[in-house]
């Protein structure tokens, strides 16, 4: 059970992230929720990649059968980079929205609704 701790954390983070996105009315807080959700999925993939007794593939002297495959790390890294791009874009949208409407509260900026 103890070794499932990372997965418990993943579930908790997912719930917290989704709750933040759905319940908060402040755009910046919604972005926090997206960030938490991204962290949850990153932690999930990293936790999947853990092998007991495995050796990082940067040491040339290790026996090759004990080396772990670096794919989960590569996936996480890519996901982090995408997360950075998404966050930057979302924040710049928030800057423009604040300039236009003078608020970042989602209840007050819904002009598209008909």
């Amino acid at each position: 059970m103890f070794w499932n701790l990372p997965y418990v954390a993943v579930v908790l983070l997912t719930v917290i992230g989704l709750a933040t996105i759905l319940l908060k009315r402040n755009l910046i807080k919604i972005f926090f929720g997206v960030g938490i959700l991204t962290s949850a999925v990153n932690l999930f993939i990293i936790a999947l990649g853990y092998r007991e007794g495995g050796i990082a593939p940067i040491y040339t002297y290790a026996a090759s059968e004990n080396m772990v495959m670096a794919t989960p790390q590569a996936l996480t890294l890519t996901s982090i980079v995408i997360g950075v791009a998404t966050t930057a874009l979302m924040l710049s949208f928030a800057v423009i929205i604040y300039k236009t409407y003078g608020t970042v509260n989602v209840d007050e900026i819904r002009e598209l609704k008909e």
Partner: protein, 156 residues
């Protein structure tokens, strides 16, 4: 907003150190954890530091948006170009044609415990450098644009 003389001086000194640290991470990307994106992000934090320490107008004199944009494009084109050269050599896109070739970054990886040989990795270091250049330009431009948004909002 312009910070005090002490802050600005510290920023000037630290900027060089941050730059060197970022370049180190970019260049050793194929040996140690890190690489083009991480190193480029570190270098961009140097730009962020300068922006925090000085006022927006002063920063605009120091860092040119057009130059950063050019730098971003140059990094991306270098990345794609390095991958495209492989097509001319009769192999596939992204093929590592420099590895073990004896040319630039072309040394074979020595076996056994070693501190890491910089001259290995084939096209990987080149790609790291390309990505580093691109991320440096791209993130610095993002920070600059966001700052310009804030300064205008405060005036209004």
């Amino acid at each position: 907003m312009r910070m005090s003389k002490i802050v600005r001086f510290s920023a000037d000194v630290l900027f060089g150190a941050i730059l060197i640290f970022g370049f180190y991470i970019i260049l050793h990307g194929h040996l140690t954890p890190g690489g083009g994106f991480q190193g480029g992000a570190v270098v961009a934090t140097g730009a962020a530091l300068v922006i925090v320490a000085y006022s927006y107008e002063e920063v605009l004199h120091m860092i040119k948006k057009a130059g950063l944009m050019l730098q971003e494009s140059a990094g991306l084109v270098m990345f794609a170009g390095v991958a495209l050269i492989a097509l001319g050599l009769g192999t596939t896109f992204f093929f590592n044609y420099l590895a073990n070739s004896g040319l630039l970054f072309g040394m074979s990886v020595p076996f056994g415990p070693n501190p890491g040989e910089l001259n290995t990795g084939g096209v990987l270091p080149l790609m790291n450098i390309a990505v580093g250049i691109e991320v440096w330009g791209g993130l610095a431009i993002v920070i600059l644009y966001m700052l310009s948004g804030i300064s205008k909002a405060e005036e209004a």
